[in-house]
Symmetry: C2
Subunit: 185 residues, 2 copies
């Protein structure tokens, strides 16, 4: 892994752990093993580096979601597989976390990949739920778009509750609750 790559990966980790405000160029240099000059040679500054890191994290989230939502099984099975997939509950969502960072949200460039990722995810999940409804797996009374938004919200909120409780099991419990609600429809 070359220097540029190490800088991006270190920034991804730090943004995940500390957020944008809490991540300093010095900390990035320390973790990546790159020097001051090296960092500013490869990137224009903190926000430029953050953009590269955020873009990659967003792509990764989409790829992983697509692996399950576009996988095999009935529509409801694929939704369940996506919801149940193991996640680092206590670390939080590397993309959703940035949503709470006003410096990120105030910058249209940094914000775009986050906005696009969740728009895509809600829409993709709504599509699978529409499939489920068409196949008779899901009540016709349920609106796919609203249901999809609620399910994505459960995942994002589950991170919050797990961190608040200091207990990863809370994440699983929220998912159980969501699947329970989905089950009888």
């Amino acid at each position: 892994m070359d220097t540029r790559e190490r800088l991006i990966e270190s920034t991804r980790e730090l943004l995940w752990e500390c957020g944008y405000v809490g991540t300093s160029p010095k900390a990035i240099q320390r973790r990546s093993g790159a020097g001051q000059g090296s960092m500013y040679h490869h990137f224009r500054g903190k926000s430029d580096l953050a953009l590269a890191a955020i873009t990659r994290s967003a792509e990764e989230l989409r790829d992983r979601a697509e692996a399950e939502l576009g996988g095999s099984g009935t529509p409801v099975q694929r939704v369940a597989a996506y919801l149940r997939r193991e996640r680092a509950a206590l670390r939080g969502c590397p993309v959703g976390r940035l949503t709470q960072d006003s410096d990120v949200m105030a910058d249209p460039t940094l914000r775009r990949p986050i906005e696009e990722t969740f728009a895509w995810l809600r829409d993709r999940l709504a599509g699978v739920l529409a499939e489920a409804r068409a196949a008779g797996e899901l009540a016709t009374a349920l609106d796919p778009a609203a249901t999809a938004t609620a399910l994505v919200a459960v995942l994002q909120g589950a991170y919050v509750l797990a961190r608040a409780a200091g207990d990863a099991d809370v994440y699983a419990r929220a998912v159980d609750g969501a699947l329970g609600l989905l089950a009888a429809h």
Copy 2:
């Protein structure tokens, strides 16, 4: 409103907008109109002031939730009233937001009010759902505790999605989806 009070209220606003790392004593002084010496006279430092602010925000969240969950109507009506209550969707949850702040979560003193608040909320909501089930308003197959956790997660996640989209309607849509799932049970 005296100086001490203005300091606490200003800190509450800033923690809400900028998080703990993003909130500086200087910014608190600017917003409250209190001087340097004044702030350090009333509080030992940043974390001491943050504790007062967080404790108050946590109490407020509990009081507001209790107003609806312990209000009038059938259990399911009370849950719906709680979920549908108007919130500042784009500002995020003043308590849940702090969950993403590693400095806050690393400090047991600052963390306790957050942990207790969500533990109480999940439990309180589970109680109302148990009432609903006993009254035949809700399917016996649904576990009150898991369902309550999922519903609280929907609210917390709805803030994330609304901020990501830059659109408060997304919050309402997540709530609609959750109530839709709850309806047919």
